[in-house]
Amino acid sequence: MKREITFTLNDDIVSVYVESDEKLLDVLRYKLGIKSPKQGCGRGECGSCSVLLNGKSVRSCIIYAVEIDGQKIETLEGIQKNGITKLQRSFVEHNAFQCGFCASGVTITMTEFLRKNPYPKIAEIKEALSGNLCRCTGYKSIVDAIADATKEGE
């Protein structure tokens, strides 16, 4: 049963027809051209498909698109609309990623986290990051970049 859903996507109101069992991730990527969220595990474990739903990071691979009718979704495309953020700049400066597949999910997760906790301790960064898997880096460069971008007094 196809139905029309309407939601806010990076400050635009969009409407799209979806099947009940279509995942939000697939609708974003294949129907709306939003390519920043990536499919890694497809079962909520790796975080590479993360998007912000009403400001909170969630896994778009285990959300049906029908569930977000009337809600607000933000992706990297929206977050960096006016140029990359301080956090992203720090990722670049630290060469924080290698293949970059996890980068979008990490950035989304940290964007939410830093809005709530702008000057986190290293342990807090690591806890917040624990649901985002990175197969390349061993995390150190990512954590360093986040720590650097959130040093107090900057």
Binding site: E19, S20, G44, G131
Partner: protein
């Protein structure tokens, strides 16, 4: 063609009606962190998914008549961010922080967690020691289930086919107490529990002990509590307590831990949990939320 129809009722009445009509094949959807994978994996077949997230009543998180009410659609993140939970239900607060990772806690609900009824449910020990009442509703009306009777076995619980859990009702403790939840996973950060234990000690020295991941269902172990009741805590009592714990638990060996490792760790974690709970009762550290392992 979609494999199921999707419904998003706006009221409880509508929801129980729909669930009753489709009950045999319908599934209730909250955070979806468990359900969506089960549907993907074809572990379950459903032709009607009923999304409960548009029912305002289920978002309720409030103190009323000396009880806390946690609606079915309250997420772990909402619990962690609530001052009421942090101050009056600190073990629920502490264990909620141990559930998976932020991206899951933002979506997953504590009611969904108990409805999945997996043996390792992180929220179960804390709810067991706070003597939680599970309130359910169907077209036949409402009823209350003691959480101790709610879990039946792996992925099995006391809900009837057409019943929906609407909220949890938890008595406020009108005396001072200390509590803790200690969870062990294979590594720090996100993992299912190998063993999880919650304990509580009240100012009149009543003890409560509950476990997850060491038997087919989360359990409270009253026989062990009785050996401690009325006594100021000392690790010397733990030998006897241990015997009762071993009688009560029946862990399995799996990919996460062997049976004997789980047994040994059940004692180790209990000791850590009781030491922390007793210390907190006396107003001392460790603070709630501190790493206890």
């Amino acid at each position: 063609m979609s494999s199921f129809d999707y419904f998003s009722p706006k009221t409880l009445e509508e929801a129980v009606q729909l669930y009753n009509e489709h009950s045999a094949s319908a599934r209730l959807l909250l955070g979806g962190t468990d359900l969506v994978n089960m549907i993907n994996d074809e572990m379950i077949k459903t032709n009607a998914v009923i999304d409960l997230k548009n029912i305002a009543y289920l978002k309720q998180l409030e103190l009323k008549d000396n009880h806390l009410y946690i609606g079915a659609d309250v997420t772990f993140t909402e619990l962690i961010e609530s001052d009421i939970i942090r101050e009056k239900f600190p073990v629920i607060w502490e264990s909620s922080r141990k559930v998976a990772s932020m991206g899951i806690r933002n979506r997953a609900t504590i009611v969904g967690n108990i409805c999945s009824s997996v043996p390792s449910a992180d929220s179960a020990p804390a709810l067991l020691i706070r003597e939680t009442i599970v309130r359910v509703m169907s077209v036949n009306g409402k009823r209350e289930i003691d959480i101790a009777d709610f879990f039946i076995g792996p992925r099995k619980n006391a809900l009837k086919e057409n019943e929906i859990v609407i909220n949890l009702k938890i008595p406020v403790l009108n005396k001072s107490f200390g509590g803790s939840y200690v969870k062990m996973g294979r590594y720090k950060g996100e993992d299912l529990a190998q063993v999880g234990v919650a304990t509580l000690v009240t100012e009149d020295l009543q003890y409560r002990i509950a476990y997850c991941a060491v038997s087919p269902k989360p359990i409270r172990i009253k026989k062990a509590e009785q050996l401690l009741n009325g006594r100021e805590f000392s690790v010397e009592f733990l030998k006897d307590v241990d015997t009762e714990i071993m009688n009560a638990i029946s862990p399995i060996g799996d990919i996460r831990a062997s049976k004997s490792y789980r047994e040994k760790m059940s004692s180790v974690l209990l000791e850590k949990s009781l030491i922390a709970s007793y210390s907190r009762l006396k107003g001392n550290k460790p603070e709630y939320g501190k790493e206890l392992l």
